[in-house]
């Protein structure tokens, strides 16, 4: 015998009410959005200085003039990012793994890794850029690069590796000890347990915070400008200095945003896919 579902009157009534509720929330959302946006736009346009601000920050002509140079500069930012990021990932994981070593033989390495993360997380990135960018060439050592782009990139790597290492370490610590016990009970050494069981799970878990750090690194590539290379911010500065108009800065900002927004959506996509793969279960 098969039982087919015939919707009861009670259920029909319930669905009608839910539908009405849904319509009401939709219109409430629409109205409040229109009101909020309207107020902000009105406040902006009504402010006495708006015509001046529009001319100084949102001038179409200034944008068109500055765009080619700022865009060219921005390619250098992207280049710095693309080179620094993989190196940071590898070094960060390395530092995190060093801090997880338990054998007394490795004490110096462990202590060094801890000292490194403590110190470099604390130094403002801009100071590090100055220290490496101007300090290293001043040493006048043979064979040490003195190209400001390279030195700036090294400064960024030094700073971000310490953050990424901590992200990896928290990911590794978040894997339940029973996973380690299961791996060790099968005869896997500490190294193989980390490599095949703990780190793969930890990396999956820390992808969202890592991408957050990527976005941060992307914009901090602008700090390399302090050493002189003609990247996006520097180009914008030059244009602004020539025209007394700040629109080139807004242009640079738009380019940075244009890169981080797709990455944020990509993060969401990865997270959603991971959730689907787990089959909705925990």
């Amino acid at each position: 015998m098969t039982t087919t579902w015939v919707k009861s009157d009670r259920q029909k009534e319930r669905e009608k009410l839910l539908k009405a509720q849904g319509r009401r929330s939709l219109s409430a959302a629409t109205i409040s959005t229109v009101v909020v946006v309207g107020l902000v736009v009105f406040g902006l346009l009504a402010s006495p200085g708006w015509p001046r601000v529009r001319e100084t920050f949102f001038s179409w002509d200034a944008l068109v003039t500055a765009l080619p140079d700022v865009l060219r500069g921005f390619l250098l930012n992207v280049g710095i990012f693309l080179i620094a990021e993989p190196i940071i990932l590898v070094l960060g994981l390395g530092v995190a793994l060093l801090r997880g070593l338990r054998s007394p033989v490795f004490f110096p390495l462990r202590a060094l890794a801890a000292l490194y993360t403590d110190v470099f997380r604390g130094i403002p990135v801009i100071l590090l850029v100055y220290l490496v960018g101007f300090g290293v060439p001043a040493l006048q050592l043979q064979g040490v690069p003195n190209d400001p782009v390279v030195l700036g990139t090294i400064a960024l790597i030094l700073s971000y590796t310490s953050f990424v290492a901590e992200v990896f370490r928290s990911g590794i610590d978040s894997i339940h000890p029973s996973q380690k016990a299961a791996a060790r009970s099968l005869g896997l050494s500490h190294g193989k347990t980390m490599r095949y069981v703990v780190v793969p799970q930890a990396v999956r878990r820390v992808v969202p915070p890592l991408l957050n750090d990527f976005a941060s690194l992307q914009k901090d590539t602008a700090l390399v400008a302090m050493l002189g290379p003609l990247e996006a911010l520097r180009q914008a500065q030059i244009h602004a200095a020539e025209s007394f108009n700040y629109t080139p800065y807004v242009t640079a900002a738009l380019l940075f945003v244009a890169l981080t927004v797709p990455m944020a959506r990509f993060t969401d996509h990865l997270a959603a896919r991971a959730a689907r793969q787990r089959g909705g279960a925990t």
């Binding site: 029973s178 016990a181 299961a182 791996a183 099968l186 005869g187 095949y196 069981v197 799970q201 787990r278």
Partner: protein
Amino acid sequence: MTLLTIDGVWKRYGEHDVLKGVDLTVDTHEVVCLIGASGSGKSTLLRCVNLLETVDDGAILLDDVEITDVRTDPDDVRKRIGIVFQAYNLFPHMTVLDNITLAPRKVHGVGRAQAEEQARELLTRFGLETKARDYPDRLSGGQQQRVAIIRAIATQPRLLLLDEVTSALDPTLVNEVLGVIRELKESGMTMILATHEMGFARDIADTVCFLADGVLLERGHPDQIFGAPQHPRTREFLSRT
């Protein structure tokens, strides 16, 4: 032939003595069931045998070689002893097949093709051949625990430890796991089980040991332990289960 000797093993956590000088010998092909209330030390004893816990006193010998010697390589011992946990502890990021072949490939140096062939044979033997490519969380608890048992025996251990392997399962799934253990006994596997399934223990065990507060109070043939327990605490425990 004696496979495992536990000699006066003592284990303490902080101020609490979990094992107070436990002695036990296990022969090859023997199935030993540890029974006793939660907290009596059954799981700790198994974890000591697998060297997941270090003993605070006493010794454990496998094939007449002391494995609790501080100079032994624990990885070398664990290659010969398998353990199955109450919570399965499968690796969630690997397929069933990869879970099973990880240790043969990475610890025992078996080639991928051969390891997978052996894994598929085991999966077929225990009715899980269609699950090879699935991830663990797509499986029911009973299926996951059967995979965990297969993973533990894929390296052909000399001894298999089972730590309350049915405690996390609902009653309808318990039997499929117990069926696997029964088949392992028929194939001659030496096993130590910590269990709350008294009927199963009586049925499958060659020897039953009753633990209470870290002391092995009574050991004997299942008929004797369940039929005519000698120690008053054994009688009291069995009357409550």
